[in-house]
């Protein structure tokens, strides 16, 4: 079968299963990469009316709290050299973004891989790495901790967030689990989540196939995790990466933008001397708590509303004047919606 036929086959099968189910069901995806492909190919638009596919908090930049972002910006503003992934640079803090500080002082460095931070460390021994991302990226930060680089960690864990979302205002009937987080944590990490789940890869076909499997599980009331990405994901996951995470991070309560403090959902650097929050506490205690704005990123991340339903979307909040992280981050739901013409 060529690609078009395979896709049509999936769509046809999904329609049949949706008819069998009859009532409305909601499935949530929680991976920035999946969000992008779903919107890029308009997958939401071709699903049957009673299947609601919503985007959850799968973009690590979007879920980093405004307060943490303000703290990193303050460190940069105090001329401390900062390195982070490119996504983070344009996120607006309460006053500036890291990009603005870079333009002002020049001490903010964009990296593609944490290995580059070691080169920067030679020139800037006091460099701080702003560690954002879920379980996929946190192991790359342990590499820096092993090399005595100071870290400000806002790394977060996906399964605890999934559990909280299940208790939230939206009834979630199933999840499309993140692809590469699953590579690290393994399928067994999701066993306590009591709805059907599927792990998929990153093509339109894989995602449609995953949705087909998921709606089938929902129809049959099978609360299980199907691994639709077996070439990259195993039951146990990457044990070495997990060991490094346990060695260098403690699991702590963590603030997720729009979701509040979620218990045991974040990673904190164990070694005090390499924890920027401790080393620079005297600077950070001056950072005020952010003011409330009309930005509804939080509700978007919970899947309560779509970007189009935020009063600021497109009217005030656009990619060149972003009001919140969901618009600034290229993986943010609002940025992706905007890019694809919603």
């Amino acid at each position: 079968m060529d690609e078009e036929h395979i896709l049509k086959d999936h769509i046809h099968a999904i329609q049949k299963i949706a008819e069998d189910i009859g009532k409305n069901i909601t499935i949530m995806e929680i991976c920035g990469g999946h969000t992008n492909i779903i919107l890029k190919y308009g997958i939401r638009d071709i699903l049957p009316e009673n299947i609601h596919l919503i985007s959850g908090p799968g973009c690590p930049v979007c879920v980093s709290s405004q307060y943490d972002i303000d703290c990193m910006i303050e460190l940069a503003n105090q001329h401390i050299p900062i390195a982070t992934y490119g996504d983070m640079l344009r996120v607006p803090g309460s006053k500036y973004s890291l990009d603005d500080i870079r333009a002002k002082h020049g001490n903010v460095f964009e990296i593609y891989s944490t290995t580059e931070v070691l080169d920067l460390q030679k020139k800037y021994p006091n460099i701080v790495f702003f560690g954002i991302g879920f379980e996929t990226t946190a192991p790359m930060t342990t590499y820096l901790i092993e090399h005595d680089v100071m870290v400000y960690s806002v790394h977060k864990l996906v399964p605890p967030a999934m559990n909280i979302l299940l208790q939230g205002l939206v009834n979630i009937d199933g999840f499309i689990n993140p692809g590469h987080v699953s590579t690290i944590i393994g399928t067994h990490a999701y066993k306590d989540i009591t709805v059907p789940q599927v792990i998929t890869g990153f093509t339109a076909e894989r995602i449609l196939r995953g949705i087909r499997i998921l709606v089938e599980l929902i129809r049959n009331n099978e609360n299980t995790v199907v691994n639709g990405y077996p070439e990259a994901v195993t039951e146990q996951g990457n044990k070495k990466a997990q060991t490094l995470l346990a060695k260098h991070f403690s699991i702590v309560d963590s603030e997720w933008r729009g979701l509040g403090f979620l218990p045991k959902s974040g990673l904190e650097v164990k070694k005090d001397t390499l924890n920027a929050k401790i080393k620079y506490a005297h600077l950070l205690e001056k950072v005020p708590l952010p003011k409330k704005t009309k930005c509804r990123c939080g509700d978007i991340l919970k899947g309560l509303i779509k970007p189009e339903e935020c009063p600021l979307y497109r009217k005030v909040c656009t990619p060149d004047n972003p009001q919140g992280a969901c618009m600034v981050s290229e993986e943010g739901s609002c940025a992706i919606s905007y890019r694809y013409g919603k």
Binding site: E4, G32, G42, D87, F134, T137, P178, H180, D320, G341
Partner: protein, 340 residues
Amino acid sequence: MLSHIDMGNRKVVKIVEKEFIGLAHGSGGKEMVDLINSFSFSHRGTWKNVDNDAATIDIGEQKKLVFTTDSFIVHPIFFPGGDIGHLAVSGTINDLAVMGAKPLGLSLSFIIEEGFSFHDLQTIVHSINLLSTKTKIPIVTGDTKVMEKGKLDQIIINTSGVGIVSDEELFTKELQVGDAILLSGGLGEHAVALLSKRFDYETSIITDSKPVIDEINAVKKYIKIAKDPTRGGIAATLNEICMRNKKGILLYDKDIPAKQEVRTVVEMLGINLYELACEGRFICFTEKKHAKKVESILKTFNNDAAIIGEVTQGNSVIIQSILGKRMLPNPTGRIVPRIC
């Protein structure tokens, strides 16, 4: 964010909420366009096409003088398949060529950092000389400045160009719904060649930087509009054309050419193929009935040349893929590899 200030009989666009210029203002996307629009120079004389690749002025006998300028800050200055000198000359020749003009001469200005290698400068000058000789487009005037060490990153080159075009041949003809859009070769090769040093990968891809004047001349009589998709790629270029011509564009995703290695790098770095700069490619619009002929002529220069879409009603760029249609917006910010 922009706001309009009414100053009597002219509107001035003021950029608010920004204290300083950022890299995005030079990246070829929306921020740069907004910045340039905000300059609002009030005295233009009788020049036209001042927001186009080259400006034009009537010089009688149904001819126009065509004038363009560009500055080159590419890094690294030597990259696979080319250097900043070759790029500077090609770029300005192309800005004239995509207006339909015959280039008459170029200016060449160097701003050089103290301590810059003499040998490197000779290499760059040699590239420029070779290209000028090959294309028979002379370098007729210029300037050289040197700045103290540390005040400049190696070298900046500015080239300006002057050309001539008849009113009939000027590539600013009106677009009609149904007109075909063609691309003269694969996307993204210049960007991928450049990024290989920054992101430390090896590839056989070399820059596509070259003058496109021969190709354009071969299909000149069929061209309504042409543009070279440099900074911001075809995303920026096509959105600009939509805006200027108040038409929409439909692209056929599967027909847009790009070499496999380019697609691999795009995946690897998490960047957008349609926002990648090309320096030796052009997009052209022709009547539908000429599309196949133009495509076959362009294929004699580069086998990847292809019909990639058509003009529609509307005011945005839409891409048609297997599953449906989606918008291709104007790029914002700069190329940023993404993380999970």
